[in-house]
């Protein structure tokens, strides 16, 4: 039988890794949308009523 303490530790480690991966994925998503918006707007960002 496996040691319950070791199982819990392994579970926490795996969960922590997954959480970090999700956080990085979300940051990447925000950065992507920001960069694409800037690139798509380009110089047109100045062409608006002030």
């Amino acid at each position: 039988m496996s040691d319950p303490k070791q199982d819990i530790a392994a579970d926490f480690k795996a969960r922590r890794g997954r959480n970090i991966a999700i956080a990085l994925g979300l940051v990447l998503f925000v950065v992507l949308i920001f960069v694409v918006t800037v690139v798509k707007m380009g110089a047109n960002v100045l062409d608006r009523p002030l």
Binding site: A10, D11, K13, A14, R15, G17, R18, I20, A21, F29, L32, I33, V35, V36, V39, K40
Partner: protein, 321 residues
């Protein structure tokens, strides 16, 4: 068949979720899509070009996750796939499904907003074709599964081309046709020495349904159609002199290997090995293994040469006109 949704026995790591995306398939898709994007010879903002390739990669990964969700029951029966996260019990089937759905929507929407809706439509079609038409229907129904289903793997260069230009001209479809015709000899060579697994899983691969002799004959026929097709880019101006040399020399080797498979007894005695290696096979199947391995090298060389020629800006050799 109803897919098996395994219960999780081991804690899933982020690497398990990455494995759901089939990184090796993703790398090939990225490579062929990049070739399509570069061969279009149309300026595209580097950031948008990178986003387009990223979307295609994520879309391919999403297809992989959906495939692993649906095929968990047959994956568990084959030695090549039994270690995948869902059949191994590390990831729940529902999680694989959710990941595939979310990434599909994300990749198509981002492609549409950032690059264009034609490319996004092609990407959506590719994902649906692979996940629904191939995985859920063709794979378990007909021995022509990988022939028709191969379209999904052949479309990335067209999507890359469409991302750059908003159109899909003849040369883009030529790249698609090359991968499409490459798929049957490539996969049937593999299935000749893994047919016992496919039979056990109930997947109607060609050697299981039609027998090894018929499969070897069809490999040769497809190879005879595939190799001349690889020369066509040199005639349409897509490929240059170097491409023509690589396609011709590699094509001769491909035909030689296909001929040796045809003359061999590959697939006659199912391989009873229990390990997961694809390249270490019994002597009787070595010809099939050699064709399988060379087919990957040949396709890679063809696309790398096209990529190199267009990056270098070398004018293509116009053999006609």
């Amino acid at each position: 068949m109803t897919p098996t949704l395994s219960s999780t026995r081991l804690p899933a790591t982020w690497q398990d979720f990455l494995q759901l995306l089939k990184p090796r398939v993703m790398s090939l898709v990225v490579f062929t899509a990049l070739t399509g994007l570069i061969c279009a010879d149309t300026p595209i903002h580097p950031v948008l070009g990178a986003v387009a390739i990223f979307c295609i990669a994520v879309g391919a990964g999403a297809s992989g996750a959906l495939n692993m969700w649906y095929d968990a029951d047959i994956d568990a029966k084959m030695r090549r796939t039994r270690g995948r996260p869902v059949p191994a019990g590390r990831v729940q089937g529902a999680d694989a499904l959710a990941l595939g759905m979310v990434l599909s929507l994300f990749s198509v929407m981002l492609m549409g907003m950032a690059v264009g809706w034609f490319a996004a439509g092609l990407l959506a079609f590719t994902i649906v074709f692979y996940a629904v038409v191939y995985t859920m229907w063709l794979k378990r129904w007909t021995a022509q599964n990988i022939v028709i289903g191969g379209l999904a793997g052949a479309l990335p260069p067209v999507i890359g081309w469409a991302a750059a230009t908003g159109t899909a001209p003849l040369n883009a479809w030529l790249l698609c046709a090359i991968i499409f015709m490459w798929t049957p000899p490539h996969f049937w060579a593999l299935s000749l020495y893994t047919s016992a697994d496919y039979e056990k899983a109930g997947v109607p691969m060609m050697p299981v349904v039609a027998g090894p002799a018929s499969t070897r004959r069809q490999i040769l026929i497809y190879s005879l159609l595939f190799v001349p097709l690889c020369l066509v880019p040199a005639l349409t101006g897509l490929g240059g002199a170097i491409y023509l040399g690589v396609a011709a020399a590699g094509g001769l080797v491909f035909l030689l290997l296909a001929w040796r498979v045809f003359r061999s007894h590959a697939g006659e005695a199912p391989d009873q090995r229990q390990d997961d290696g694809l390249y270490d096979v019994r002597a009787g199947a070595k010809d099939a293994r050699n064709l399988f391995a060379f087919s990957i090298l040949y396709l890679t060389l063809l696309f790398a040469t096209l990529l190199g020629e267009h990056i270098a800006g070398r004018p293509a050799l116009e053999l006609l006109g």
